[in-house]
Symmetry: C2
Subunit: 476 residues, 2 copies
Amino acid sequence: MVYIAGEEMTHYASQLIVKEWIKPYFETGAWFEYDLSCVNRDKTGDQVLHDAVAKGAEIGAIFKEPTITPTKEQVEEFGLSSPLGSPNGAMRKGWNGITISRDTIHIDGVELGFKQPVLFERHAVGGEYGAGWKTVGRGKLLTTFHPEKGDPLLVDSRDLDNDHNVAVVYHNPLDNVTDLAHHFFSRCLESEVVPYVVTKKTVFKWQEGFWAIHKSVFDEHYKEKFAAKGLLDGTGGELQHLISDAATMQIIRWTGGNFGMSAHNYDGDMLTDEVAQVHRSPGFITSNLTGKREDGVMIKEYEASHGTVTDLWHAHLRGEETSLNPLGLVEAMIGAMQHGAKLELEAGGPAENFEKVMTWTTTLRKAMHNTFRYGQGTRDLSGPTGFTTEDFIKKVAWRLERYLIQGEDETAPELSEPDRAFRRNHKVDDEAVQEMFASYDTDGNGSIDLDEFTNLLVKLGVAPQKVENKGKEADI
Amino acid sequence: MVYIAGEEMTHYASQLIVKEWIKPYFETGAWFEYDLSCVNRDKTGDQVLHDAVAKGAEIGAIFKEPTITPTKEQVEEFGLSSPLGSPNGAMRKGWNGITISRDTIHIDGVELGFKQPVLFERHAVGGEYGAGWKTVGRGKLLTTFHPEKGDPLLVDSRDLDNDHNVAVVYHNPLDNVTDLAHHFFSRCLESEVVPYVVTKKTVFKWQEGFWAIHKSVFDEHYKEKFAAKGLLDGTGGELQHLISDAATMQIIRWTGGNFGMSAHNYDGDMLTDEVAQVHRSPGFITSNLTGKREDGVMIKEYEASHGTVTDLWHAHLRGEETSLNPLGLVEAMIGAMQHGAKLELEAGGPAENFEKVMTWTTTLRKAMHNTFRYGQGTRDLSGPTGFTTEDFIKKVAWRLERYLIQGEDETAPELSEPDRAFRRNHKVDDEAVQEMFASYDTDGNGSIDLDEFTNLLVKLGVAPQKVENKGKEADI
């Protein structure tokens, strides 16, 4: 597979993980490694990015550590000769990006935000990300389309009557939405979750095509299979459409999980961040780009959904203890290794290699999850007595070795929760919490009973709801 | 003022409210009434909509009941001669819409979602709502701007290489963003909340202008005043920008309230629905359109944030009891009456009329809120023993008369919460709640203590946070 290295805390942790968890079991010498740190991109005139993208397209399985897109200040700080753009654009283009999948990560026996999985597809192309625009004054804005053959077509003509306007034009390419829909529905089916297609098509009429393609793929290839699993029982037997602004509400209400959403590029950007927050933090969300090589092979790039974790890196540099939860990174590595193994198998490689990777990933997940369940997890989940970055990685390595080599099996206890989840991204305001507690403890007896609890859930807008699917009038 | 009537349950309740709460104290014969029911719009060839908009522009203060924009099925059901569009577009255009303000509604002594107010401005024009578009194949898309004077300008040229694309073009008119910014900051200052401007400008570069206008208005007219009230203590003394996708996360985290957001049209659509959900339901959110007549007079239209409540209407028609919470409707009526009184005063009307409206609205709010606090509210807040639509309106009328005419004063008790908030929009899944309760009651003693509670808040992603304002790297 292709291994793209980034920087700061997540680079440090990834390197440790490769050393402790992967190298004892696999030959990593065959990996193609690219260093996308700012300094190296600058040094190579960004040739390294082009090489990484080209090799990624050739191999088809990519793991990427978080990288930095330098701000003006960072260009100076790192002594770069010129500003560097985000590598994302080059990757989506070079790999014919279809969808960015962002799913909730779950730990056996530990509850985060959503109880069951939430799957998300964000169309990887189109929308305002690729828009052209100009600041203009009063006058006429004309948009015309000139087909390869035939007469030009007027797309839009409008008079601008303000002194100060911005004119914006973009297009949504729809050819790969069929692939997106297959990817989405097959994943939903495998995870047994209810699929929803999210658009604003009731008002933004041009979004009808995105829905129509999904609907046609669904009805032809998936409807019966979903129905057979009972996944359409709550939706009247049909694929459901959800208006994007209604989706912002349902994401807060459907904390039981077990649903999937497929959306346009910008809606997906907004809604997956909302999902991440409801599920606690971006540390518990995957981020995988799926593209397609011209010969039809699926290119898959896996990364964590978070950044380079600068604050912990600076603490580490100061010699302080850190406790980075590597779950997002590891799920990305697992994904890339599994896809690489699958491609190798499909290309005629030996089945035993594929089996070995599958066994290893299953065992690794169990070793990680059990480590959390023994209270030896990182401090975001295990509290102040949790393990450091290094100790956690060592502990999992020890457990992995016991399970994998010595064939031990064990059932870890259900996690006994720490006094307080110490979350890196969260500084809980204790006073405010005490006030809230008092306000929900309406009989003032120092504890919250089931009635008070139900009330609290309703007030917080997070009470689990019976399925209802009435939709919502379009807000225009 | 102008009174725009709609239909179904909210029309029924509004008429009752006018009869019971308003007519005893005010001469409503001078109101201009327009019936925007589907049947009447159809009968008049939509002339009634044009008349209502024209009169609204003339008078400047408008109350609007929820209306129906008929679906294909409803066109048949109501026997309409042709489909009817949403009246919103005509209103925003006819009144030079600047902003749609959607704020949380609070009841003294009752806690909903956000503890303190959340204010929202959604730019009433621009964005994809007014987009032109076409479905096109392969070819070149050309957008040019032809100014009133001078040479044409190329806005964008792009090659479309898919067989199936949609091309989309729109513009954001920016002239009224200065008015929007004044409206936003003066409201935030009055309510003493921290203002945030929300855009995706880090990636959608053309949104820089929206932010720049806000920033310039703020620095010139408001910065010192906000600083003097300590409202910039947590923001480094400056106006803060928030990336739109980060805003989806903060809305869930900042349940303490006391913040305001100003956003583009579509972002405002998405984010205000999210705010509504966190604050329990759209029933507790206002929806006010502010425009500007050519002579500078502010036109303000007030409506509830919810629809016509069809399900309760059907229950009412079947002769069943209903319990509609009219808070959103009433806040809209109050707003329109206050604005009308203010315009009349500014036009040289007698001060006593203005004073009378102000006293009445303050007293009405107290009568309503106290009725809730005596457990005589509607069933969404007062539980199954709560009052019906009609009884609630009568009870408030009785209390209003006592306070207003007989000059009585009373302090209602803090609301003793019902066993369970029966929410019209929510069907709580009791089994799922019991499961959740058990999972948070980690010591299994049948109640949740402060530690378990803190944990629960963190898990649900709703723990109050200490202020942090680091922003978030752009996701592109």
